[in-house]
Symmetry: C2
Subunit: 149 residues, 2 copies
Amino acid sequence: MRKSIGRLMAILHRQSQIYYNNTLKDLNISSAEYPFLLYLFSRDGASQEEMSCYLNIDKAATARAVKSLEEKGYVTREKADSDKRVNHVFLTEKANEIELAMKKKITGWSDLLTEGMSGESIEEMTQILEEMVNKVEKRNIRNKTEDKR
Amino acid sequence: MRKSIGRLMAILHRQSQIYYNNTLKDLNISSAEYPFLLYLFSRDGASQEEMSCYLNIDKAATARAVKSLEEKGYVTREKADSDKRVNHVFLTEKANEIELAMKKKITGWSDLLTEGMSGESIEEMTQILEEMVNKVEKRNIRNKTEDKR
DNA sequence: CTCAATTGATTGACATATCAACTATTTTAA
DNA sequence: TTAAAATAGTTGATATGTCAATCAATTGAG
């Protein structure tokens, strides 16, 4: 039976969610939430829009994940002065305290996937996946502009 | 910002669901259902357990997807004589009629992803993904047997 | 300037998937 | 042989994500 790229990636995605939910359980962080924290560790104060776009996650899902992180005490939200529609999201001290522990746990998944692969091979793989994402995004933009005509 | 393999695959997975839901809408088939039909086109009469295992999808999700396909008239279910716990799932005539149309639509996604890649490169990519899935499955089996101790 | 279009965020309805608990069978081991 | 364990499937609770509708704020074209 042919194993298609799509099916294989679907399996890896589902399994990754199971993995993250398990390993992050003791930090009280879910598989839906960690990508936002991860992004904020690099770009504290990012807007929800910015994160939605970068992570390719629906803005509704973003709103809910950020709200949940706020309730858990990992982030705070502030409306921008320059544009009151925008929420800037900031890490709390509680979030900074778990940064290393969280990153370590998250790395575990990539390590499992790339176990036994050369650094070169991993780099190439990442490159190809990035190109695939680019193709999809290009197609989405094309379809979107078509909608308006 | 580092684009990790996990994040890229998550994006491609989410986008693929959107793609399949859109393109299969006119056949009244959802992104959750098509993998089962696809499997049955190769192995008509498979059990739910067999499909759950091959597709790495929870047996509860399988039960619901198959039930939905039954309600839509694409499959029928029969309890096995030899083991009354087992459901064998069979394609209906209605399913066979749409086989080609469905496969064509599904191929569209892989084609988009692999556009511009050499056959060799695609083969290599598939190979690597398969190895990743194997590593994850091995780890799952390891954890499972540990649970029993 | 001003009114229509756009944008960022929120909410409700729904789809998909997991986990845990349960039922009904079948298998296994004492 | 029979009681316990395992297996296939179902169901309920819950988590994640999409879409569509809505709101408020901003932008831009005439």
